[in-house]
C-alpha cells in the first residue's frame, strides 16, 4: 500500500487580491498596524501606494528580519500575548490579514485591536463555502482547499469559521461591521448573493460603537 501523499497548497501566493482590498479600504497618510505582517509585503505596498506610516507585528524570526530588510518597522511579538504597550487609539487602522483563524484566542485579540485602532480590518478564509461544506458532508472528512490548505493534524488554522460566524461574533463583542467585501476566485465583490456559501474569503472593516 502506498501512503497517501497530502499535497499542501500554499494559500493565495502573496494574497494579492486580499491585499488589494485592504489597501483600497485605507485612507492615505494614516497610521496602520499590521498584525502578523509576514515579510512586510502589505506594509511596503501601503507605504509606497498610500504614504502610510506602518508598523508590523510578527512572531516568526525570519519574517521579522525580511521586514527589517525591506525598511519596515516591525516588532517581534506573539499576538496571543495581546497588544500590551500599544497605546489606546494609536493607529487609524489595525489590520489582521489571514491570521484570525490561527489565534489561540481570537476574541481577546480583536478586542485589543478595537482598543488600539480606530478601525480594524480583518480578513479570514470562509469555511462556509459550499464546496468545503459539501466535501465535509459527503466524504465525512475535514476538507483541504486553497483557503484551507493544510490537513487537520498539521495546520496553523486552528479555527474554522464562516462569514456568518464572524458577523455574529462582531455583534457579540459589541462592535459593528462598517464594510464587508467578499473574495471569490481572486476577485473582490462588495455585493454577493449568499456570501456565506459562495465567498472564499471574508474581509471586514469593523469599529467599536
Amino acid at each position: 500500500m502506498s501512503n497517501t501523499v497530502v499535497e499542501i497548497r500554499t494559500p493565495f501566493h502573496e494574497f494579492e487580491a486580499g491585499f488589494n482590498v485592504i489597501i483600497e479600504l485605507i485612507t492615505p497618510g494614516t497610521r496602520v498596524l499590521d498584525l502578523g505582517c509576514g515579510t512586510g509585503t502589505l506594509l511596503s505596498r501601503l507605504r509606497d501606494e498610500k504614504d502610510v506610516e506602518g508598523c508590523g507585528v510578527e512572531v516568526d524570526q525570519e519574517k521579522v528580519i525580511r521586514s527589517i530588510e525591506r525598511g519596515i518597522r516591525v516588532m517581534t511579538l506573539d499576538l496571543d500575548q495581546g497588544l500590551e504597550g500599544f497605546p489606546d487609539l494609536s493607529y487609524e487602522y489595525v489590520v489582521l490579514s489571514r491570521t484570525l483563524q490561527q489565534l489561540m484566542n481570537p476574541e481577546a485579540l480583536v478586542k485589543e485591536m478595537l482598543r488600539v485602532g480606530s478601525k480594524s480590518i480583518i480578513t479570514f478564509p470562509n469555511f462556509g463555502h459550499w464546496k468545503l461544506m459539501f466535501e465535509y458532508v459527503v466524504s465525512g472528512r475535514t476538507p483541504i482547499s486553497g483557503t484551507h490548505p493544510h490537513p487537520w493534524y498539521n495546520t496553523p488554522d486552528i479555527h474554522r469559521l464562516t462569514i456568518e460566524d464572524f458577523r455574529s461574533f462582531v455583534r457579540q463583542i459589541g462592535a459593528k461591521i462598517e464594510k464587508e467585501i467578499f473574495i471569490l476566485n481572486d476577485r473582490p465583490r462588495k455585493e454577493m448573493f449568499w456570501p456565506n456559501r459562495r465567498a472564499e474569503w471574508g474581509c471586514c472593516l469593523i469599529s467599536a460603537y
Binding site: 524570526q61 528580519i65 527589517i68 530588510e69 525598511g71 516588532m75 517581534t76 511579538l77 500590551e84 504597550g85
Partner: protein, 387 residues
Amino acid sequence: MVDGCSNSQTTSKLYAEFDGIELDSGVFLGPLTVAYETYGRLSASRDNAVLVLHALSGDAHAAGISENGRPGWWDGMIGPGKGIDTNRYFVICSNCLGGCKGTTGPTSINPATSKPYGRSFPRITITDMVNVQVKLIDRLGIESLHSVVGGSMGGMQSLDWASRYPDRVKSAIVIAATARLSPQGIAFNWVGRNAIYSDPIGACGLPEVNSDSVRMGRGLAVARMIGHITYLSEEIMERKFGRKLTLKDMDGTTYSLGENEIGGGEFEVESYLQHQGAKFMERFDEDSYITITKAIDYFDLESQYGDLISAFKSVNAKMLVLSFTSDWLYPTSMSLAIVRSLQALKKDVSFVELDMPYGHDSFLIPAAMPKLTRIMRGFLNGVKHSS
C-alpha cells in the same frame, strides 16, 4: 575629509586630546585623552557617520586587524560590504572613559601625583562616557550621526545618546541592553569586584607590563570567569563543553584546551574559564574593571528621570531594540520595558528578539553574524536624512 582605512586591513589607533571634562559628580577630570579608530570615509556632507559603542571589556579596535595582528571585537559586523558597511558609512569607535586601552582611565597618569590614578580614579557614569564621545564627535566635525550602535554597556550608551542628544542621532541601535541594571546584574558585578578587592593592594601592574610576573593576585581573572558565565547560556555550555574532561597525554599532562598549567581545570568548561581569565589578566586593568562595572551598576534611566517615559520623551531617533532569547543577564523583558516606553510615546521603534542559544554575548558570536548583518544593513539603510 577624514580618511579611514576601508581598503587596508590594518587599522591604527588615533588619539584626541582635550583639556578635560566635568563629570556627572561635579569633579573635573583632565587632561583627557580619547583613543579611537575610524573605518570608511566621512562623506562631504558629513552625514554618514556611525558611532559604535563597545561593551565592558571592549575597546576602540572594533574592526580590521590591529598593528599587532588582532582582529577587532566586531570585525564580523564592520567592514567593506559587511552589516555596517564601511563603503557607505564612516564608522567611529572609541575606548570608553575609564577604560584601559588608550582613553583616560585608572591606568592614566594623575597630573596631581604624577602616578597612575589606580583606585583613586574618580567615580564615573555612563553619561560621562557619552559626554566624552560627544567631545570626540565634535572634534571630528560631525554634527549629526547616522546611527549610534551598541551592545550591552554600549546599548546603555546608545540609549543615553538618543535621550540626551535627540538632534544629533538619526537612529539608535540598542542590543542586549537595559535601561536599568537588574539587582542580579549588580550582584554579579559585586562578586567580580570582590574577587579583585581580595587581591593584595598594589599587587597589580599596568596592563602593558607582563602581568603574571607583577601581579600577585588573580582577582581580575576570577571576575572575568564570573562574567563569562553570565554572558553564556546553559544551553550553549552544554553544547560547547558538556561534561567533557580536558584531554590528557599518556603522562597525564593536558595537551589541548586550557592553560597547560597547574589549575588549568579538569572539565573543559573549567579550562575554558581559566583560559578566559588568564587572557583577561594580560589585556585588562582591574581598576578599570571596577570603574566601569560601577558605572554599569549605577545606570538607571528610571531613577534618573523619574520613569522611562520621561527619559525617552525627547527621543527623535529611529530606534531598533534587539534582544536574545537566551540572554538571562539582560533578558528580553528588559528590552521590552524600553520598547513599551517608546511605544507609549509613539516613537519610531522596532523590536527584534532573536532566537539564539549563545546568551548575552550573542551579538559578538560569529555564528550570529549572518542574521545580525541582515538586520543592521536593513535598518541602517532605512534611516532617512531630512536635511
